[in-house]
């Protein structure tokens, strides 16, 4: 499903044209289904995900055991949740490099509030999430109001947050406050908590992106910012919303990971989850140039990255070549996206 070029899939399949060259019979049908799949931005990554599952299941049967599925889900979820925000930002033509540092700072803030200031756990969690919202707002302000490119703006705020976290924590890890253990179960401690959050948020924001005015205007801003502005869309509001949402997601994932690992670690977060989230978005069909993207695609992209990480581990491949595979996957995905988008624009994939 794509938020752009709104399609009614059921109608399209029903009215599938007898495309010249596709022919009839079984293979014609297969080709037509292939053509429809190729039109869906998520189709490529979905096929890749299925092939990976089959490959790792065949080569390492433990890949599909319950424990390993939990493991894969816990790698997928944080990347997928951050990717939701990055998809909105990329679609409207921006990016957030600071989200990994919001991730790192939010559990420390919760710890300070509870252990040093006696703030109730629920309130401390809410304030930590609001810190993410505030960081997102500041990123939006610097980008929209002060007109600093978001790449630079968020690079700067990311470093500031990183420095704040290191300075206040003296770069030492901290324990999860006892008072927060209860709420922590629902946020990230339970085995399926993170992936449940991820799936619910992905579904909600896929609908937001593809079926609401907010989503439509986000695509419009990324597709043609002048045109969107001339049509009366409040471009600034759309961008602020995307930055704020990304900040919130970063803070949420920071808390989830802290509860899951039962530790507040200054080395968690940073650039890695942010880059993985952007990679997941791009692999899932989001255009870096803006104007198109899907949240479900980003979720599938997160799963592909998680399956690669986990699968290589299971079949005994060293972690060292992983970045080569990731880099190759991103490049292949981008090349495929660009070429498929070109064909779609030219109307050769109807």
């Amino acid at each position: 499903m794509s938020e752009t070029a709104e399609r009614a899939p059921e109608e399209e399949v029903a009215a599938l044209p007898p495309t010249p060259g596709l022919g009839g019979g079984f293979w014609g049908g297969v080709k037509r289904v292939g053509a429809v799949l190729a039109q869906q931005r998520e189709a490529t990554v979905f096929v890749v995900a299925v092939l990976l599952v089959i490959y790792f299941w065949r080569t390492a049967p433990s890949f599909l055991t319950k424990d390993n599925i939990v493991n894969v889900s816990q790698i997928t979820a944080p990347v997928a949740i951050i990717a939701i925000g990055e998809v909105f930002l990329l679609v409207c033509g921006e990016i957030d490099l600071s989200v990994g540092f919001i991730f790192a700072f939010s559990p420390f803030l919760m710890h300070y509030l509870i252990d040093y200031y006696g703030v109730p756990a629920v309130l401390a969690v809410i304030i930590s999430l609001l810190m993410g919202v505030a960081a997102g707002f500041i990123n939006g302000f610097i980008t929209v109001a002060l007109r600093v490119p978001s790449f630079i703006a968020t690079l700067g705020t990311g470093f500031i947050l990183f420095g704040l976290m290191l300075t206040t924590s003296n770069a030492y890890p901290a324990n999860i406050p006892n008072k927060a253990q209860g709420i922590g179960h629902w946020i990230g401690t339970y085995a399926w908590a993170e992936i449940t959050w991820a799936i619910v948020l992905v579904l909600i924001f896929q609908v937001v992106l593809s079926r609401t005015r907010w989503g439509l205007h986000t695509v419009a801003v990324g597709g043609n910012i002048l045109g969107a502005s001339e049509a009366g869309i409040n471009v600034a509001r759309i961008k602020y919303a995307a930055f704020i949402m990304t900040g919130f997601m970063g803070a949420l994932v920071g808390l989830q990971e802290a509860f899951r690992t039962n530790s507040i670690d200054p080395s968690s977060g940073g650039y890695q989850p942010m880059f993985y989230a952007i990679a997941a978005a791009v692999i899932g069909g989001t255009a870096l140039a803006g104007g198109s993207g899907t949240v479900i695609g980003a979720f599938l992209g997160s799963f592909v990255l998680a399956a690669l990480t986990d699968g290589f581990n299971l079949i005994g491949i060293s972690a060292n070549p992983e970045p080569i595979i990731f880099g190759g996957a991103i490049l292949i995905a981008m090349i495929a996206n660009v070429q498929l988008a070109r064909l779609r624009r030219a109307g050769r994939m109807t």
């Binding site: 752009t4 070029a5 709104e6 399609r7 009614a8 399209e12 609908v207 079926r211 609401t212 005015r213 439509l216 205007h217 695509v219 419009a220 990324g222 597709g223 043609n224 002048l226 045109g227 969107a228 502005s229 001339e230 049509a231 009366g232 869309i233 104007g291 198109s292 779609r344 624009r345 030219a346 109307g347 109807t350």
Partner: protein
């Protein structure tokens, strides 16, 4: 159709209002004008949209120095001028995209302060830009309803928008196979027609078209000219068309205004002017500019 008021020849020959000729709108009829000029001023009094002494500067550059014009109900006004004359700036002021520095705008006799494109649209002034303001990635129907989407809260009512877009495009004779395709796949003429259709069906009273025929082939231009003719026949929509092609403007518009160096310097009914006359005015301006350059050198 236009009420062919005796618009007269208030400003023939590209002379400025300071030349003692009857001015464009917004000036008192008691300035010693001709009877035709007075009639024009009276028509301006009853105009649907009236612009008085509007000026706009961008830093050291004066885009508009003193604009006075009007458009009557159901009239098609052609706004001509050279590149950089200020036509697009004037349109952006009239559609609420940017405010004027000075001057005032009256709609139905009431002064309005256009705060945004949305605000102007809510008052019945809509615009189709030269750059179309269409979003390539969105479908035809999403583009047609952009910023005024049909919603069953909180979701878009795509079914309704698809149906209405289909009906509207059929009604104005734009034959598209599907409204589900992204506009990137359409021709320039089809895109322009969709942009016009979007504005027409926004309950607009005044429609501003910024160079609707720019960069179009004859076939595509014919599609848009036919569409404008149909709108003229409806008689309830006032249209201001910014154009470069004098022949097309005279053919489709009821009245022609010429914008030169930030002022309206020419105001005639189309039937009373010709491409030759407009060309002569512009050539005269070039000659004058050339002389000034030679003198200063």
């Amino acid at each position: 159709m236009t009420a062919p008021e005796p618009d007269g020849q208030p400003q023939a020959g590209g002379q400025s209002p300071a030349d003692g000729q009857s001015p464009a709108d917004g000036q008192s009829p008691a300035d010693g004008q001709s009877a035709a000029g007075s009639a024009d001023a009276m028509a301006a009094e009853g105009a649907l949209l009236r612009v008085e002494h509007v000026a706009k500067r961008f830093g050291a550059v004066t885009a508009l120095s003193d604009i006075n014009l009007h458009v009557n109900r159901g009239e098609v006004l052609g706004l001509l001028g050279d590149n950089g004359a200020g036509k697009s700036t004037l349109l952006k002021i009239l559609c609420g995209f940017q405010p004027p520095d000075t001057g005032r705008i009256l709609l139905d006799g009431q002064e309005v302060h256009l705060k945004s494109v949305d605000h102007a649209r809510s008052l019945g002034i809509d615009v189709v830009y030269q750059d179309l303001a269409l979003i390539d990635e969105l479908t035809v129907y999403h583009n047609m309803f952009l910023k005024r989407e049909k919603v069953i809260w909180p979701l878009l009512n795509n079914r309704a928008m698809r149906k209405i877009a289909r009906e509207r495009l059929d009604a104005i004779g734009i034959g598209l196979k599907s409204v589900d395709v992204p506009v990137a796949r359409l021709s320039g003429g089809q895109r322009q027609a969709i942009a016009v259709a979007r504005a027409v069906y926004s309950d607009a009273k005044v429609l501003l078209l910024d160079e609707p025929l720019a960069a179009m082939g004859a076939k595509e231009a014919a599609l848009i000219l036919d569409l404008i003719r149909d709108l003229k026949e409806r008689g309830d929509l006032s249209i201001i068309i910014v154009a470069h092609n004098y022949g097309q403007a005279i053919e489709i518009c009821d009245r022609i205004n010429l914008l030169q160096h930030g002022e309206i310097t020419f105001n005639k009914m189309s039937k009373d002017t010709s491409v030759q006359e407009l060309n002569d005015i512009v050539i005269e301006e070039y000659r004058r500019a050339l002389l000034e350059r030679q003198k200063s050198a």
